[in-house]
């Protein structure tokens, strides 16, 4: 491929030799494409994605709204990727599930499906101190996936911890 074409003219032999200005560009193009590949790969794959999280304002005295107990579902993020949830406030029946597609997502979907008109279910997310950060992101993600409209992250109460402990005791979960 490399050619420095020096076949100039054929007939005339007078004057300085004509040298073709053509040069072999193959290595240059090779290098250029190599660099392109490098830059392409480094740019496109390092853009981090984010998820937005809005917390309820603590400083404002929010007007407390009365809602029916049955509208609220508390979701407790526990240890070892366990999720506990219950509906209502008084003597709730705690149930356990997980973060898989058939776990908490199904529960959320069902709650949203069963809602009475104009009354979106309210999900209250409470995370135990021992839960992993991944769990928090996962549950927020599930909210987004299922399209839950009303949800909030609040501090866990001693009552919730008691409920979970009781559930664990009743179902012989030890860790």
């Amino acid at each position: 491929m490399a050619e420095v074409d020096s076949s100039g003219g054929g007939g005339k032999k007078k004057g300085p030799k004509k040298v073709s200005t053509k040069i072999d560009m193959t290595p240059m193009v090779d290098l250029a494409f190599l660099l392109i590949t490098f830059f392409m790969l480094t740019t496109t794959f390092s853009k981090p994605k984010t998820m937005e999280l809005n917390m309820p304002d603590k400083t404002k005295d929010n007007v407390k709204q009365e809602v029916e107990e049955t509208r609220t579902t508390s979701i407790i993020l526990g240890t070892k990727d366990r999720v506990f949830y219950y509906t209502g406030i008084k003597d709730p029946a705690v149930e356990q599930t997980d973060y898989s597609a058939n776990g908490i997502r199904k529960v959320l979907m069902q709650k949203i499906k069963e809602r009475p008109k104009g009354k979106d279910p309210i999900f209250i997310i409470k995370s135990m101190d021992e839960a992993r950060y991944k769990n928090i992101v996962d549950i927020l993600d599930e909210m987004r996936i299922t399209g839950a409209q009303v949800y909030a992250m609040v501090d866990i109460t001693p009552g919730d911890i008691e409920l979970v402990d009781k559930y664990k005791k009743d179902n012989n979960i030890t860790d």
């Binding site: 250029a32 984010t50 937005e52 997502r105 839960a131 996962d138 987004r144």
Partner: protein, 200 residues
């Protein structure tokens, strides 16, 4: 059997056009690339379906690693300088000009104010080991001061939290509480991309 004579063709072609395009693209990518800043800690972020892209400028990043160490970084270099001066005043640690310069070039750091000098003198390889994280407990809450000063230096700054999958939710809750005390209720959490489930 008669040999079929294949006429020899000159296979060299004009590569000028290809070369032009290649260099055009090369220039484009070179100018648009922003290299990943070297981070003192490896953080494995959880994944989500969210597709919001992180803005490049005007952000402060709070990084939490596996062991719960807290790191802090601000994207704008001018803000960094202003922030450090305010912090130095508050904690009565004097920084020399070269230390301030080193700090403005540091993307993320994670050490108490008292150790910051030592960290700035260390090489980036050493830093990973000697940084113990910014104190966030209620007795010695330096993160709160950093956040306050960063906001003071840049009003429109956004708060980004980058946590490791396996970090305790407790540390996260503490950080969120610190923010809420300063009336910040909006955060961005850095996550990896994940495909959205199709059966919904």
């Amino acid at each position: 059997m008669a040999k079929v004579k294949i006429p020899r063709k000159n296979i060299s072609l004009d590569m000028t056009a290809m070369c032009d395009v290649a260099f055009l693209l090369l220039t484009f990518f070179m100018l648009t690339t922003k290299f990943k800043p070297d981070e003192p800690v490896v953080v494995d972020t959880p994944s989500s379906v969210s597709e919001i892209i992180l803005p490049d400028a005007d952000i402060m990043t709070i990084t939490v690693d596996k062991e719960g160490r807290v790191f802090f970084g601000v994207s704008n270099q001018t803000d960094r300088q202003e922030m450090l001066q305010a912090m130095a005043k508050k904690y009565k640690v004097a920084f020399t000009g070269s230390e301030v310069k080193e700090f403005t070039l540091t993307e993320t750091f994670g050490s108490p104010m008292q150790d910051l000098k030592r960290v700035l003198h260390a090489t980036s390889a050493q830093r990973a080991k000697i940084q113990t994280g910014i104190p966030v407990d209620s007795v010695n809450n330096q993160l709160q001061d950093w956040v306050a000063n960063a906001r003071y230096a840049n009003r429109g700054i956004r708060i980004v939290i980058k946590g490791d999958k396996d970090a305790d939710a407790k540390v996260m809750k503490e950080i969120i509480t610190i923010m809420q005390e300063q009336n910040i209720n909006k955060f961005n959490l850095i996550t990896n991309m994940e495909a959205k489930p199709t059966d919904i």
